[in-house]
Symmetry: C2
DNA sequence: AGGCAAAGTGTGTGCGTTAACATCCTTCGG
DNA sequence: CCGAAGGATGTTAACGCACACACTTTGCCT
């Protein structure tokens, strides 16, 4: 027995074949569950595989089959709850379907960042890709770089020729607005997301449609950027306006900022003003007061997106160009209540200077 | 011109070579920035590459170089802010270093889930892996399945033979506890994470050490499971105890639950009780009141983890078996304040039944 | 002008696998 | 008891690339 174990390189198919006393092709048949292998031979091969701790080389396999059994995911800021949940749904569904997942996330939404992420993914050996980014740019860029690559967009609005799976933002916004109106509020103010986000647009449309249906006047629109800070700033504006009794924020984070602003202005939620958010982040339930919001089933969106992609990749023809819509649901909690019986709000008291 | 464009299969190196009038090897040299190529030739080749929209086949390249330029990441619940941020830090650093990232996330922490995620990653062609999971099981499983695979653990506690990068939990917990003591509180109660999480243990130790240093009595430990619900339950217990004036929750989510419980019991934060959390999730700043917490730089942890892994992969020898520690910092906000001058807390009033 | 190193380029081989084809061994019916 | 069908196995050839090596050209020194 010599001292030098010369770096035990991983076993290859040929090693297994030799140990089992068969040809490498028979090993390949066992690995791929080919029927025409005698049971005794199969056993012997599997024994050899275990003994050598052999695992097939995915690169070599992919080279000859021309399929990597890997999908790519391009995602915007995976720290956010929505994209993160969707990614998780995609990943678990992918594993169940026998696909690995390679990610490429955008640092931010400017064109450079999108290009970098898209280029990185385009260089990867992926059989298909899912775009979790609210910009058409990502899907289009990938299409340019890798023509013919199966593609599905999720959590995106309208998206050109790419099949889309997303939550029904329009109906979700209607649910939120109608909930507040049905509590007796005369109208509902809305803090929207950035103008170039399709989700933001659809939520505005749902809100407007709902107000129109009830004959309520549509107050001026406020703009945020999804961040608590922006909600806070909008909240300060609203706090100064005694007309405001109900606010629908386009996401929970902005709702959080609004509540903070109201707290600083000594306005009570929901006694003085009701608030409804959107997303149902895990924190919503335990805010003070707990936040009424619209639940989005991100996991389901991820699962459906992957299912659709697999369908396209495995040749089920490119049907289903219809956008798939996952319904949103209202979760009523403490932050929404009927308005005070007396018209208008009690006078705004200032607790802080200025 | 015939009707049938017979599926324009992607160009291969040979196509580029023919178009440029060189051998495939020269194309290869251009792609890999080999110095000995005449400038005119290089231009011609690059022109041909553009014209044919050629991109090298990563599978074929990996097969011959025996390196895939891909790393794997095993992560626990990527919806949580910490793991999600770390993953993002890893991913961006990886892209900058020329590596792709394949993920495999755990649905939960039971052995089956860990095995499934580890097995999925072990089958992938990765040059190395980062484990963002608080269980040694994941790293060990990967080590068993793929001996010799370069491995780094992040956001994990002590982890056997695997190099570790993580935030200094012990010092972070000291910061939180000392902050409350320095405000004048006699002692600090602690709501810990699950007993089998190393982060939870280290935070307990930091808390205990800090109390001991100040000669403060250590109150009984409360246990949570990181969720707002568990913090809420612990908060209800604490609310009934008039001795309690300062609470250090092991993460922000539990702190949120605690604040909600106090609100229901009509206790004011920070007037009646001070609270400090851990993590500094984006919502903390805009809670009502805003939450004093300990900031963890997850991004930095991800970056450092990747840097360490690249060092190992590229043969810088396996130095740095020392755990790398990223410092934690205290972020003082509204939820912590000196105790009321009168000893003890005002009587607990109940607002709700029972 | 000759020679010789270096720059520039081409040829052949193998990475580990699957697919196509060839071959051998059963078995079963007439 | 022989022949054919088909089950079981082996042989050979790609897949697209990089590496080792061989070869041709260029430039420079003597």
């Amino acid at each position: 027995m010599s001292m030098s174990e010369p770096a035990p390189r991983p076993a290859i198919m040929h090693d297994v074949a030799r140990l089992a006393g068969v040809s490498h092709q028979t090993v390949s048949r066992v690995l791929n569950n080919h029927p025409n292998v005698r049971e005794a031979t199969r056993e012997r091969v599997q024994q050899a595989i275990r003994q050598l701790n052999y695992r097939p080389n995915a690169l070599a396999r992919g080279l000859v089959t021309r399929r990597s059994r890997t999908i790519g995911v391009i995602s915007f800021d995976t720290r956010l709850f929505g994209p993160a949940s969707t990614l998780l749904g995609v990943e678990h569904a992918a594993r169940a379907a026998g696909y690995a997942v390679t990610i490429s996330s955008l640092a931010n939404l400017d064109a450079t960042s999108v290009r970098s992420a898209v280029a990185a993914l385009a260089g990867q050996p992926v059989d298909g890709a899912i775009v979790i980014a609210p910009r058409e740019g990502a899907a289009q860029g990938l299409r340019d770089l890798r023509p013919g690559l199966p593609l599905v967009a999720v959590e995106a609005g309208y998206s050109g020729e790419t099949p889309v799976v997303s939550v029904d933002q329009f109906s979700g916004a209607r649910l939120a607005t109608e909930h507040l109106l049905s509590l007796g509020h005369r109208t509902v103010w809305h803090i929207a997301g950035p103008a170039d986000w399709l989700e933001a647009r659809e939520r505005i449309e749902g809100w407007r449609a709902s107000l129109a249906d009830s004959g309520a006047a549509a107050p001026p629109l406020l703009r945020g950027d999804w961040s608590p800070e922006s909600g806070y700033r909008a909240g300060l504006d609203l706090a100064d306006n005694p007309e405001v009794t109900a606010v629908f924020a386009a996401n929970d984070q902005m709702a959080l900022g609004v509540m903070h602003a109201f707290y600083e202005r000594d306005l009570r939620v929901p006694a003085d003003i009701s608030i409804v958010g959107f997303d149902n982040i895990p924190e919503s339930e335990f805010l003070t007061p707990s936040l009424t919001t619209v639940h989005q089933d991100f996991d389901e969106v991820g699962r459906r997106g992957l299912k659709l992609l697999v369908g396209i990749m495995e040749g089920d023809s490119e049907r289903a160009s219809q956008p798939e819509r996952v319904p949103a649901t209202l979760v009523a909690r403490q932050s929404s209540a009927p308005p005070r019986p007396s018209r208008g709000r009690r006078a705004v008291r200032r607790r802080r200077g200025s």
